[in-house]
């Protein structure tokens, strides 16, 4: 047995494949088109947290302990965000995109992969201050039930609030972030009035279809975890959900591989990774 290398390179990918198959067959969640490097890293962290020695150990628990599923989904999608992350992007939305959205009587915004909701509340505040919120509807979706639960609560660590407050100011906020939340000793809670035009819903970009007709879609730092084919699928979904002239906002370091669907979007403000579908007039010849 000595000739079997404990750390054979292919062992990892075998374990990864088996886990992904188990999760799909047992629970219907498909991670087969997630980019392997981060997926493997998250699986190892999750295995550690759940006291499994190997990814295969984790696979066994996923098969036999269905109550672990929410933990596993949360671990595999690791929701991390902050309010007004990359303030310049939010400033650009406020200054360049909102004036164009303002021409619609009702504004639909889809936040795809909303995680714990920090950007949902950021967006609501931005719309409120632009005087557009009462004719806006934000659809905030995620594949994780638990993430949606957290997002709808809007409770965050007070430790983060200082940075978020600086972000808010840098994004061109016209009040103070404190005006939108109540602070306790360790936690802040976002004003629940901000939720009045938010609908939280389950949606999985890997398997589900068009979700709504949207004028703006935000999906920041979600597609970075997808393989090229799944990125393409998500972009096609966004294209089919957006109205003509609709906007798509991605994460600052995201790279659209020149896939089929990516070609339908033109850069609107490249520095903020905001893209746009052709308007009615531009699209007429297509």
């Amino acid at each position: 047995m000595n000739d079997i290398k404990v750390d054979a390179p292919e062992l990892d990918s075998i374990e990864l494949d088996l886990f992904v198959q188990a999760l799909q067959k047992r629970h219907g969640y498909d991670f087969s088109e997630y980019a392997p490097a981060s997926l493997k890293r998250r699986l190892r962290l999750l295995a550690d947290q759940l006291h499994c020695k190997t990814i295969t150990g984790l696979t066994e628990r996923v098969l036999h302990e269905p109550q672990l599923l929410p933990n596993v989904l949360e671990g595999l999608t690791v929701p991390t965000s902050e309010m007004f992350r990359d303030p310049a992007v939010f400033r650009t939305l406020r200054e360049k995109v909102f004036p164009l959205l303002a021409s619609y009587p009702l504004i639909n915004i889809w936040q795809a992969g909303c995680a714990h909701g920090q950007e949902v509340y950021s967006l609501a505040i931005l719309l409120e201050e632009a005087g557009l919120y009462d004719r806006s509807q934000i659809f905030a979706t995620d594949l994780s039930d638990r993430a949606l639960q957290r997002a709808s609560e809007g409770i965050y660590s007070v430790k983060d609030a200082q940075q978020w407050s600086r972000n808010y100011q840098a994004a061109g906020g016209t009040h103070s972030l404190a005006d939108y939340c109540s602070a306790g000793y360790k936690l802040i809670k976002l004003n629940q009035r901000l939720r009045r035009h938010v609908t939280f819903a389950l949606h999985n970009l890997a398997i589900d279809g068009v979700f709504c007709e949207a004028h703006l879609i935000l999906c920041r730092n979600v597609l970075i975890y997808f393989s090229d084919p799944l990125q393409d699928r998500a972009l096609a979904l966004f294209r089919d959900s957006l109205v003509r002239g609709g906007f798509l906002c991605l994460g600052l370091r995201e790279n659209l591989n020149p896939s089929h669907a990516a070609q339908d979007f033109s850069p609107f403000i490249e520095s903020a990774r905001i893209y746009r579908l052709p308007t009615q007039a531009e699209g007429a010849h297509a």
Partner: protein
């Protein structure tokens, strides 16, 4: 070990000067891909790219998500994201939580590249003020790669090379001025 295919370098406090010394001394003939993770508070690596371009014989670029890793090119990890490499030699980014208070984290990069290049990799830890990179360097050594650590006594901040030596050990522990000549020798041999 095999002929190295890649060099991964990590540093934090004092890292810009150390990188200038190392990257400025690399031979223009190197065909290895070079990946650099520097902890920085800046939102861009444009300035660092400019600075390093001036002193390096090799091209210096920011690592782009989904792009191929290029031989003979120095790739800098973008700020705010962890940098990883897929087994098909394309870059991947992640915004998973900070590791050792850092994003990009040297440990995340090193774990990922250790598994991609295994014994065809050189891991380098330079000056720095925390222990990030130590566990990653241990992983590189476990999988047959070579570990180079700047002598702590020679480093502007000693914690990072010290931690690397304690956790991973090193195949070479040398002063900063010797690192570029050493890498040239290991890579051109």
């Amino acid at each position: 070990m095999s002929t190295p295919a890649a060099i991964a370098i990590g540093c934090s406090a004092g890292g810009v000067d150390a990188l200038k010394a190392v990257l400025g001394g690399l031979d223009a003939k190197l065909s290895q891909a070079i990946l650099v993770c520097l902890h920085s508070r800046s939102d861009t690596v444009d300035m660092l790219c400019q600075v390093l371009k001036r002193i390096s014989a090799l091209p210096v670029v920011e690592a782009i998500e989904r792009d191929a890793v290029q031989s003979g090119v120095i790739h800098l990890a973008p700020p705010g994201y962890h940098l990883l490499v897929e087994s098909d030699l394309h870059f991947a980014l992640s915004i998973d939580p900070r590791v050792n208070h850092a994003r990009p984290s040297i440990d995340v990069l090193f774990y990922s590249v250790a598994e991609v290049w295994r014994d065809a990799l050189i891991g380098v830890i330079l000056t720095g003020a925390n222990a990030d990179g130590a566990a990653g360097l241990r992983r590189i050594r476990q999988l047959g790669g070579v570990a180079v650590v700047q002598s702590p006594s020679d480093a502007e901040a000693t914690a990072m090379p010290q931690a690397a030596l304690e956790v991973a050990g090193a195949d070479y522990c040398v002063p900063l001025s010797d690192i570029a000549p050493l890498l040239n020798r290991l890579c051109l041999a």
